[in-house]
Symmetry: C2
Subunit: 385 residues, 2 copies
């Protein structure tokens, strides 16, 4: 069965004066409104969220959202795959429709984080890691620093190539009305920003963000009833890597990216050469390199060249992170994977405004932990399968 | 497609000197061993858990478990539906197989709670509720007290009838080697135990528990390769009620129990008259009454009579909570819904030892929050569909 997306929405990302319940309801109700679907038509509600309990002392948010949207007696469930919770939500929504369990599944991803300071938020996120690594101070940013150092040394890549990822994604974010930072930056500014985890500097990291995004899923038959234009899920899959990062043979590759990507490619019938636009998980600039390579968009050790050559810019052969990416759009954990697919839906349906590129096949890669689990979604305009 | 259960396991429930990772790995690896299935055959790993972050400061436990069991690159995801996380896991596992996303899904549910005192644990659980109700002191036990008072008054039911639920479930738990309390209690002891939330007393409440349980799912074709005996999922479904309990028209009925039950009955083709054994969510004794009525096992307001008549005892017409129920077996939140189905598998395959009853159709009802979301699973011996 082909599973379709007939609605998509996202809130403004950034520092929001709203709690998680309000953020989820904002994206969820706007998604239903835009699709012209009544809350009563929703029979499954999925909420992608990593840590509302830890961040806000509020659990049961899927039941709260069901109530706030007016979808009961619809079934509701929360999905957590750390920073890949959104992508895991897309996979779960696909399963709910494809299995026949649901006729109409609303997925809402969100996180409320900025009321905690950066150190406290980083600590919640670091609880993803192996307890032994955590005790030694290995937060996610410090893993990124180590991987970046090894990558630059191994492949003789210039430090500036990482800065170019940030510069490109900031340039894209300027045209995204929902992005947290709509601000151009230069390679020089990035290279002179404060060191966070050597060799990575402030502009190599995504910010702490509040926000939410939503998608509405159904079968092709139902999609035709509601929508003239919609998007098909061509393939979706996920994979895990070692939980202990130091057990990996080569920390400059992410096995779960390669494996999850291979599975999604196989399910879709597409390969990297077919992808026209991609949203990659640039929580740290180095991750955009590792995903470009793991997904077959660049040779191992050459993603820095691909980036410097301009291939991943908006007018390049493979625009990457037209939304601004996590770097400039922001990274509200549970929302990010959903917002990646939102951007692809907007691009495929020609609604991306100043960000619009020419694209028929889109790919989203959502990374949990430091590549501990990765989900991949490939989409195309509806009606082709 | 018929989805089958070819493996089932649970750890000892109670006060365990082990962290959540260890508990999950214990049930997960034992489940694979008992089924004779290699970790490498597992392609989806689901972890039902409400609050490892809040209870233990550890998140990403599905990735940790994947690593500990040796299932990578299998996909992994955590499922949260508060105290119904286990039942939600069964529903998600069903969807993963029925959709074709997975050929072999391992579900492990667990929670580590006893290192926190009862007040702290109750507070984590109370974060499920609506913030306004929470601020007024409405924890789950206090909701139960209010509902019990209203039920006893409305239906002129004797207080002793609630005690009989506890006495029955304790009697069953004596024969469950994994139960937290293997101890007979009398109606008199229950009636004289300390008041917790008037009219409910200590013996009306399940304990705080550590523990884990696991189930292994696949299609019928795959089941036949691995197992001579297995169990089929005849129907599984879920439903939500209002998040704000005081908005319910009648707090002595649980709309999500009735609706979730109706959906599972419809999918299975069975009705309440076909069910031979049931595991109900007796987190509080009053909940066993509300579920007996909501699922059609007793007339509204008459579950207390059904209980006093002995119909739900092990030698009655409809044995309820042969495992000992949450009351005596214990209630490690994310594990409970999985352990309910474990008990049904043992009963249907004739492996329940001293607890064995004559049963061909079993039903599990797992309640999230105070009936905010409920999941229902109906199982039968394999090969009939």
């Amino acid at each position: 069965m082909t599973v379709c997306i007939i609605g998509a929405s996202m809130t403004d990302f950034g520092r929001r004066d709203a709690w998680i319940r309000e953020l989820l309801a904002e994206a969820g109700s706007d998604c239903l409104d835009r699709a012209g679907v009544s809350p009563k038509a929703v029979d499954h509600l999925l909420v992608s969220n990593m840590a509302s309990g830890e961040f806000e002392g509020q659990t049961g948010i899927m039941n709260a959202l069901a109530h706030d949207l007016g979808v009961p007696p619809a079934y509701a469930q929360r999905i957590d795959q750390t920073s890949a919770s959104g992508g895991a939500g897309v996979y779960a929504a696909w399963q709910s429709i494809a299995s026949g369990a649901s006729e109409m599944t609303l997925l809402v991803g969100g996180e409320k984080m900025t009321h905690r300071n950066t150190s406290a938020a980083t600590d919640v996120i670091a609880s993803i890691t192996h307890p032994v690594e955590y005790k030694h101070g290995l937060t996610l940013p410090s893993f990124a620093g180590l991987a970046a150092r090894l990558y630059l040394d191994t492949y003789d890549a210039p430090r500036e190539s990482l800065a170019r990822v940030a510069v490109k994604n900031h340039a894209n974010g300027i045209d995204n009305p929902h992005a947290q930072f709509r601000k151009e930056i230069t390679v020089e500014e990035a290279m002179e920003s404060p060191v966070v985890a050597d060799p990575l500097r402030l502009y190599d990291f995504c910010p702490i963000t509040d926000g939410s995004a939503a998608l509405l899923f159904c079968s092709e038959d139902v999609a035709r009833e509601y929508a003239d234009e919609y998007v098909d899920i061509a393939g979706v899959a996920g994979a895990t890597d070692t939980h202990v990062v130091h057990e990996r043979t080569d920390p400059t590759t992410m096995a779960a990216v390669a494996e999850g990507g291979a599975r999604a490619y196989e399910r879709s019938g597409y390969g990297p050469e077919d992808v026209d636009v991609a949203e990659l998980h640039d929580m740290f600039t180095i991750l955009e390199f590792l995903q470009l390579e793991g997904l077959g968009f660049a040779e191992t050790g050459r993603a820095w060249e691909t980036t410097e050559n301009g291939r991943t810019e908006r007018d390049g052969a493979l625009p990457v992170n037209t939304s601004g990416g996590l770097k400039s759009k922001g990274h509200p954990l549970g929302a990010s994977g959903v917002a990646q697919v939102y951007e692809l839906v907007e691009q495929l349906l020609g609604k991306a405004g100043a960000r619009q590129v020419d694209a028929e096949v889109g790919l989203a890669c959502n990374v949990g932990g430091f590549g501990n689990c990765v989900t991949m979604t490939i989409v195309e305009p509806g009606g082709r399968r």
